[in-house]
């Protein structure tokens, strides 16, 4: 009964909404034009990066907070610390990981750099770094985390704190995150570099924390 109702409701919703979307007139505000117009003073050449770190940088600040928060929550929930010994991963896999990880680091930095003028940026770079860590972990080259020490915590929160510090520092001479146009470039790069490391660590942490409790017992 419930199933039927839900399915019917979903179907009606889809039909109604798509119908309404087809009727829609063009939007009255074209933000992409505003973005292009202000791009020169944003400090970067790629509009999406400009939006992410300048025009709507505040969103990104909070978004990083969400990610850091998720990691803290996972730490706070507490996971069994029973780590059992896993059989050694095959040397083939390990070799693959050993080769791929440095490559991924180059790719990550490339993505970070490229973000200034075309698609790419801190998040993608961080994700690649995290993927490298996941790969290493899967190949048994990187142990899972128990509870992060000070240095690791510094790495996890560092990017966010740099972002916060820049934002707050700018607040003293204007609005929050109001970059002076000529300095916006390096500030954004600074923030992004910090974020890349922290995002990489956080995303990796999500996996390394979660997967530590049960091993491959085959």
């Amino acid at each position: 009964m419930k199933r039927l109702l839900v399915v019917l409701g979903a179907a009606c919703f889809v039909v109604l909404l798509i119908g309404a979307m087809l009727d829609l007139a063009p939007a009255s505000i074209a933000l992409h034009a505003a973005v292009s117009a202000n791009l020169p003073s944003s400090g970067v050449e790629h509009p999406v990066t400009a939006v992410l770190l300048n025009f709507r940088g505040y969103d990104t600040l909070l978004e990083i907070a969400v990610l850091l928060l998720a990691l803290i929550v996972i730490l706070a929930i507490g996971i069994d610390s029973t780590t059992d010994v896993r059989p050694a991963a095959s040397p083939v896999l390990q070799a693959l990981a050993r080769l791929a990880a440095p490559l991924m680091i180059v790719v990550a930095v490339y993505l970070l750099w490229v973000g200034a003028f075309r698609p790419g940026g801190a998040f993608q770079a961080g994700a690649v770094l995290a993927a490298a860590a996941v790969l290493l972990h899967l190949a048994e080259l990187l142990p899972g985390w128990q509870s992060p020490g000070l240095r690791l915590r510094l790495g996890l929160a560092g990017g966010f704190l740099i972002f916060l510090a820049v934002a707050a520092g700018l607040l003293f001479q204007g609005a929050l995150l109001e970059y002076p146009p000529e300095q916006a470039g390096w500030m954004i790069l600074l923030i992004e570099s910090g974020l890349t490391v922290s995002l990489g660590l956080i995303l990796a942490g999500l996996f390394l924390l979660l997967s530590r409790d049960d091993g491959d017992r085959s």
């Binding site: 095959s90 083939v92 490559l103 085959s218």
Partner: protein, 100 residues
């Protein structure tokens, strides 16, 4: 000339892809399907990449395209080995013709 060569390579690539898919559909067990995917699809990818690299505006761009291939090869080598090994350790026996 380059365009024709490029197009030809693309078509050949597509053919290998097709063959790979066909292998996936027709081959009887995991191991043999792995053969199909690891070899045919990657060859297809290689052809496509070379075909496109021919059209690239400069060397770096072409090399970038070509860079993808070894990456994909390494990845598929690793994965197919991992899968085959796992299948083997789980005791999945290879399909044999005699059985039929």
């Amino acid at each position: 000339m380059i365009e024709i060569l490029s197009t030809a390579l693309l078509i050949v690539g597509a053919f290998f892809y097709f063959a790979g898919t066909l292998g996936l559909l027709r081959f009887p067990d995991v191991y043999s399907r792995l053969h199909a995917l690891a070899k045919a699809d990657n060859l297809g990818l290689g052809c496509v990449l070379i075909g496109l690299a021919l059209q690239a505006e400069n060397v770096a761009v072409a090399l970038k395209l070509l860079l993808i291939w070894p990456l994909a090869l390494a990845a598929s080598a690793g994965v197919s080995y991992a899968i085959a090994r796992r299948a083997d350790s789980l005791g999945i026996a290879p399909w044999r013709k005699e059985k039929q």
